[in-house]
């Protein structure tokens, strides 16, 4: 039911043209993530996995977090209560891959040069560094601060450039970069699908580096359109309500802004769920959405 729904929606968007691409013929994926905040320990493995997978550069002082490129960033949330009733929760924040309304995510629609794009095939918000000319409008548009600017030339200490992955193009100074759900892994998985003569990329064949690395198993990744994928089962997205999770413990960041993100968070703690969005004092957590 879910995928049928999306087929119709996307079909309408693309003027009825068949949306099909090679090996993934007929499959409209909506890749997304479910992060269990009760399991997340804030260890930072996802951040390092991301940096090492995606050729993210580093500088000798990375303590100014406003210029430090971390596609995946783990935020520390607190319940704001005084000692000893204080509670904390860690929240890993990759790019939320907003779908917005019909793929018009906050950042995609504002890019003047089409350097960032929303794909209806995967639901991934892409970023093409060589197209980007560094106006940073997308950064101004993103409420999650998921976009990072290369303020400096990336420089690796002599010899360290040897660990750079050929599947991810290193960025030059002056462009914006962000998490792309390790799209290179989808590209490679699709290549494999071609030579194996299969029809579609399986759940195991395409997992992001952070999902794979998470030692607590807090991150789940897969196709939200596919009821067989774990992410679908965990988040239970309601396609009639822009993917609003039906799992009562699940929430999305700033859902009320209409960003329609594809990263779901799960927590059993009410204060954590409430921290996921802005509420007026008299509003109920999870309420107020569309």
């Amino acid at each position: 039911m879910t995928s049928a729904q999306t087929h119709t929606e996307n079909g309408a968007q693309t003027d009825g043209k068949p949306v099909a691409h090679g090996a993934d013929n007929g499959h409209l994926h909506k890749y997304g993530m479910v992060i269990d905040l009760d399991k997340c320990t804030g260890c930072g493995a996802c951040m390092v996995a991301c940096m090492s997978e995606n050729n993210v550069p580093f500088r000798d002082d990375e303590t100014d977090k406003l210029t430090s490129i971390t596609w995946m960033r783990v935020y520390k949330l607190t319940n704001g209560k005084p000692y000893p009733d204080n509670d904390v929760c860690y929240l890993p924040r990759p790019c939320q891959h907003c779908e917005g309304h019909a793929g018009h995510s906050p950042c995609v629609s504002v890019c003047p040069a089409t350097a960032t794009d929303y794909s209806t095939e995967t639901g991934i918000v892409s970023q093409i560094y060589t197209r980007c000319f560094g106006c940073r409008y997308c950064m101004a548009a993103c409420p999650y601060h998921a976009r990072y600017f290369n303020w400096w030339d990336p420089v690796w200490p002599d010899g360290m450039e040897k660990y750079l992955s050929p599947n991810v193009s290193p960025r030059m100074r002056g462009v914006v970069e962000k998490c792309n759900f390790c799209f290179q892994r989808y590209q490679l998985a699709k290549d494999k699908v071609y030579v194996d003569g299969e029809s579609t990329v399986s759940e195991e064949a395409y997992q992001t580096a952070c999902t794979q690395a998470c030692p607590a198993g807090a991150i789940t990744f897969g196709d939200l359109n596919n009821p067989e994928h774990l992410v679908h089962q965990l988040a239970q997205p309601d396609d009639h309500h822009h993917g609003h999770p039906r799992n009562p413990n699940a929430f999305r960041l700033l859902e009320r802004l209409g960003t329609n993100t594809k990263v779901y968070y799960v927590s059993s703690r009410e204060w954590v769920r409430r921290a996921g969005d802005n509420y007026l004092p008299d509003e109920q957590t999870g309420g107020g959405g569309h």
């Binding site: 100014d64 406003l66 210029t67 935020y75 520390k76 949330l77 607190t78 907003c98 018009h104 906050p106 950042c107 995609v108 629609s109 504002v110 890019c111 003047p112 040069a113 089409t114 350097a115 197209r131 980007c132 000319f133 560094g134 106006c135 940073r136 409008y137 997308c138 950064m139 101004a140 548009a141 993103c142 409420p143 999650y144 601060h145 976009r147 990072y148 600017f149 303020w151 400096w152 030339d153 030059m172 100074r173 002056g174 462009v175 914006v176 960041l253 700033l254 009320r256 802004l257 209409g258 960003t259 409430r274 921290a275 996921g276 969005d277 802005n278 509420y279 007026l280 509003e283 107020g288």
Partner: protein
Amino acid sequence: MDSALIPKGVKRCPTWQFLAWLSVFGAVLLWGVYAMLLCWFKGLNQTNMNDYYGFALWIWADLAVIALGGGAFFSGLLKYIFGKDELKNIINFAVLLGFICYSSALLILAIDIGQPLRGWFIFWHANVHSMLTEVAFCLSCYFAVLTIEYIPLILENRQLDKVPFFHNLSHNMHETMAIFAATGAFLSFFHQGSLGGVAGVLFGRPFAFREHILIWPYTFFLFTWSAAAFGPCFTLSMTWITEKVTGKKLVKDNVIDLLAKISGWMITSYIIVKIVETLYWATVTAPSKGFDVSHFYTNNGLYGWWILFAELIVGGVVPGLILIIPSLRRNSAARVTAILLGCFGVCLNRWVMVLQVMAVPVMTFDNWALYYPSWQEVATTILPVAYGIILTMISYRYLPIFPQEAELNPLEGAEEVEAEQEATAAEGAAEPATA
């Protein structure tokens, strides 16, 4: 030395003095150019911008100069389309200011982007959904229009005008100026508006986001309106400053009064709409996203309620009222206060719509981010000011910018020398004030 180039019937300061001041502002300009080159060659790490402040001083400067430069299109519209013929006596200056403002805006944009060599992608790979694309296209087109409007003025230089071709060209261009004025007004409507749209469409930023009419957010219309309203304030302010610097009356009072009156009514109507719109945003739009409007004005060191008051009342209601009340408007001190407050108001509005948008945390666990510009940013922002002063100095010296100048300041034999000395002294004393 350059007397052959100076318009007939007017007096200018000695060349050495002119050159001395030129070199002063030239030095400031070079300082800005040095900072600009640093940004181009070393990258934007020369600035204090960061991932929270992707837009900062420069974008504000862009928005501000374009709003202030709005006097050009609006005066043109009034003169050529609505037939306010008196304005011909100030239109040249308005065009010059517009030209300065828009060329500055384009220069700042060229410094602001991370990859200047790829700047042309905005045209070649344009994304029609982006407000910035609309800005880039309309801005470039309108800059071309301003250039076309400025050329006849250059051709009116005493020597150039002697060349028949140039004389005829200038004449013919004047004839068709109405078309350009109309085009300019049309383009301005869109780029002023789309600059407003830049912030208004950001639905991820509740402080900036505004409800839409058709495809445009309210800010689209408010920006156009405010540019039309406050642009003339800038034209009048600069005229006033030029008069102070030169020590001469350059534009007749009736012209000033007319423009001030129109500006006043525009400001008043604008500020009423703006207040209504702000109330709607504060009571409907923001709460629908879960924000109490106090969130945007508290818990930080800079952006308090005062900024709302300063923008709406001090920079809006006050100048609007002064300029629509004839007795106040005709009082020189009050009028000057009003037009300066108007310039301040519109600049503050642009500041809020750029910088405060970046400062306000949206995620509940995020923090306010405050920012101060680096000297390179300041220098590159002052660069256009120095460039503007220099271009104004040159234009004023060699071109008949103020058609009424000769009439208002007749030259008479013996007095001539005295007047020149006076003017020189005044120019020398007051010029730094423009910086």
